[in-house]
């Protein structure tokens, strides 16, 4: 029997499964793949049968869980300590709008907290991801209706990226989307 997941690590949920299925369809054999904020390592461990996968997380508990799942994992903020270009970058970001007075001080909270508007981490990601994305690389980003789909698309637009909705699923009171984001030609 395997040990249960650490209580401060996000256990795979509907958003994880949707992004994982989409990534498995999107990923071509042998590609260089980076999963940002891997949490339990669920998605990265499923992708590594067909691609060269590296994963990151900032949480000390998450990196240990991902390591235990057999993932090549690095503890770092987003991809701060990563320098290579990747063909595919997969990210299920912290996206829940969170007010200051709702904030708890633990690592699970950190995995969910998207700041006041839910887009704080996504915005930082959108500004910096160009550094580690191959010229023809693709990003798969999980976005919730709670986070604001048009606003997220707008953030990437501003950084020279084009977004396309490739999956949608409704789960209770939220719609989950997967965006495929690529560089706009000429940028």
């Amino acid at each position: 029997m395997t040990a249960p997941l650490h209580p401060e690590v996000y256990a795979p949920e509907a958003d994880t499964y949707l992004l994982c299925e989409t990534a498995l369809n999107e990923c071509r054999p042998g590609e260089r793949v980076l999963e940002v904020g891997t949490g339990s390592g669920y998605i990265a461990s499923h992708l590594q049968a067909r691609a060269q996968v590296v994963a990151t997380d900032i949480s000390p508990h998450a990196v240990r869980e991902a390591y235990r799942a057999g993932v090549a994992v690095v503890r770092t903020d987003l991809f701060a300590g990563i320098c290579a270009p990747f063909d595919l970058v997969v990210f299920n970001p912290p996206y829940l709008p969170t007010r200051e007075d709702e904030r708890l001080d633990d690592w699970l909270e950190y995995a969910l907290d998207g700041g006041e508007d839910g887009r704080m981490v996504i915005q930082r990601f959108s500004r910096e991801v160009g550094r580690i994305l191959d010229q023809d690389g693709r990003i798969l980003l999980l976005v919730s209706s709670l986070t604001g789909l048009p606003e997220v698309i707008g953030l990437f637009e501003k950084e020279g990226f084009h977004s396309e909705i490739i999956e949608k699923r409704t789960v209770f009171d939220e719609d989950l989307y997967v965006l495929r984001i690529t560089r706009r030609p000429g940028t």
């Binding site: 590296v54 900032i58 990196v63 240990r64 390591y67 090549a72 994992v73 690095v74 503890r75 770092t76 903020d77 701060a80 300590g81 990563i82 320098c83 290579a84």
Partner: protein, 61 residues
């Protein structure tokens, strides 16, 4: 971490190359060691097989 991971890692602050020092290694991977950024004079630890590239204080001396 496997040795093959080294070329894709960089200093999280200056993005410069890191120099690997191995303290303990098995057939598969580096279990304990450090990744040093000379430009920043910082050593990032590898513990229980996991490199920790969070920004930290410079080394003393």
């Amino acid at each position: 971490m496997k040795r093959s991971l080294l070329p894709i890692l960089c200093c999280p602050v200056c993005k410069g190359d890191l120099e690997l020092r191995v303290a303990r290694e098995n057939e598969e991977e580096i279990v304990e060691g450090t990744l040093e950024c000379r430009a920043c004079n910082v050593s990032y630890p590898i513990e229980e097989g996991i490199p920790d590239l969070l920004p930290r204080e410079p080394d003393k001396g």
